[in-house]
Subunit: 354 residues, 2 copies
């Protein structure tokens, strides 16, 4: 297949590097775009693509970029790979699909935003013979086989009872370090852990964009929709753990004032630990009771969520066939694993269209 990439930041660049390194015979990257300009090529791009793109003369618009792909689509199945996190690009998927392009993306917007956009995409990419394909494994847990596994469960008629997981590498890191039953671990202040995570580049530039739970909520919405529920931001109950009085401050003031709330988090943590539990920030899809949510919850030491390390993600599917849940865990963020998920998705399209 030919691949045309919109967005060549860390993930897009890493994907191209993986394709070049593996000398893939199934994938040819034939177009790349950033927000300013784009480049199309009759032959697969080579390692010099960054320089070539920088000197490209074509101004980027979604329409101009799409028009330039007509030649590619005429000769080979062509995948548009959206490596932005842009809402306008997501809104363009139906146009691409109707024009016969396949779509692969780690961008969560189309699958967690307007329900009407999601339904439109599913209507066009409906799995019928010849219909265009959409894969978005990397929208949840990066390259971890989460979406594909859930699709397999649903498509074979399993009944999903519960999907529960730690979907934010940032919040995984923060609570794995803040809340532990390991008696030998140094006790640490919540604000300090957040500050270290920020310095390590694990958080968004403003850590409140992690702590407000919206990123986790998007992942809950995506999983819920794949499981057949019409979840939206309004129907998922999100526990925003940013103290209310810190929500409208500047980012600097927020970091400065967060220590004032250390005793609040310390109290929550102590209550948990005294009960042999730890705090974890989890997303829940609950088809049975219809109460999907994002909450700061408590888990006993024997629970797989309690022994999570570093910034790993973990997800547990409880189903009719898996009453003891099917669990997937591992690195759920970073360019290498996100690009791995993208690469796997595109290989699946290559296999299905060959």
């Amino acid at each position: 297949v030919n691949v045309a990439i919109v967005g060549v930041g860390l993930v897009g660049s890493e994907f191209i590097a993986q394709v070049i390194a593996t000398q893939s015979k199934k994938i040819a990257v034939v177009a790349v775009a950033n927000s300013r300009q784009f480049l199309t090529s009759p032959t697969p791009l080579t390692a010099s693509w960054k320089t070539d793109l920088a000197s490209a003369s074509k101004a980027f618009t979604l329409d101009a970029f799409t028009a330039s792909l007509a030649a590619s689509k005429a000769t080979n199945p062509t995948v548009v790979l959206d490596c932005t996190s842009n809402e306008n690009v997501a809104a363009y998927y139906p146009t691409w699909l109707e024009a016969g392009f396949h779509v692969v993306t780690p961008n969560k917007k189309a699958f967690s935003g307007d329900l009407s956009l999601y339904k439109k995409i599913k209507e066009i990419a409906n799995g019928a013979p010849g219909a265009p394909l959409v894969y978005h494994e990397s929208t949840v847990g990066a390259g971890l086989p989460v979406i594909n596994t859930l699709n397999d469960l649903v498509n074979t008629g399993d009944k999903i009872t519960k999907i529960e997981g730690i979907f934010s590498g940032t919040l995984s890191y923060i609570f794995n370090n803040f809340s532990t039953l390991d008696a030998s671990a140094e006790p640490v202040q919540f604000s300090k852990v957040v500050s270290v995570a920020k310095d390590l580049g694990y958080t968004e530039p403003d850590p409140r964009d992690d702590l407000n739970g919206m990123d986790v909520a998007r992942k809950v919405i995506i999983l819920g929709r794949v499981a057949g529920l019409d979840l939206t931001q309004e129907t998922v109950n999100v526990e925003n753990i940013v103290p209310e009085s810190l929500r409208s401050l500047s980012s600097e003031e927020f970091m400065k004032k967060l220590p004032e709330f250390d005793s609040h988090f310390e109290k929550l943590n102590k209550e948990a630990i005294q009960n042999g539990q730890v705090l974890r920030y989890v997303g829940l899809v609950d088809p049975i009771h219809g109460k999907s949510s994002v909450t700061l919850a408590r888990y006993p030491a024997s629970h797989p969520f309690a022994s999570l390390k570093g910034s790993d993600n973990i997800i547990a599917f409880t189903t009719e066939r898996f009453p003891s849940p099917l669990i997937i865990q591992g690195s759920g963020a970073g360019a290498a694993v996100t690009a791995f998920g993208i690469y796997s998705d595109i290989l699946k399209i290559a296999e299905r269209t060959q």
Copy 2:
């Protein structure tokens, strides 16, 4: 796709039940065979298939069964589903593939037996456009997404550093119950745990067929081969935990004499626990040092293998992109989850051939 099933024991029957229950539009079961007779049908089989098969008049041979599928293959892509654990059926895969049938199976024999058979299968089912397809997700960990995930890692150029796991539900159950750091757990004798596992139907009729490690070795060989290594039963080092003097006894005598070795296992367990570790029977694929093995090993409490419950399987892929391993765990045995893996495999073939 049309599906022709050889072997309709628990797993084959459960697969048909799942297809009927989900009213699949993509899958039509058009032939079933047991070791004595077979039945082909111009229309998809219905719930009465067992009675129909019992009164079928055609005597089963692999050649006769295959000849009867010519009409099916002429109209639709046709998958032969091998639900036996038979070596002769496995040896027939090249014949089916060369005749243009696809193959799906939970039977481990073709992928863990003669290396030449495995290579012949890979030569025919090589992923080239139009080549027949072979899927065998359920050969390791039943329906857990183990083989597909490993294939994705390999096909996208990741470097596998280590594959380590608990691949036997039986031995998972035995050691999860025998070796635990939970101080409140009743201490239990090894022979007693084996006996309970046998009574619950978790073991083979002769538990030595689990304890000798050969089933785990087969799974190590399969994973190693998918990862690109030419593993064979000769190159995998297997720790048979059946005491030597009990290996040639009758099954009854074995169960009667096993208690004489309780102190041996108790000593191993105590040594582990005094070091804050538990015993687990693990398979290891080791591409770096070339020392793939099956051993009774020790893991600290914080390791994901230590908190495994029931008879769950767990598998950890350590790779260049996942230095903190990608871990999959859950039920790895039983008809429902094995049939789920088969069903998912066949849907993938349906998607690739539509």
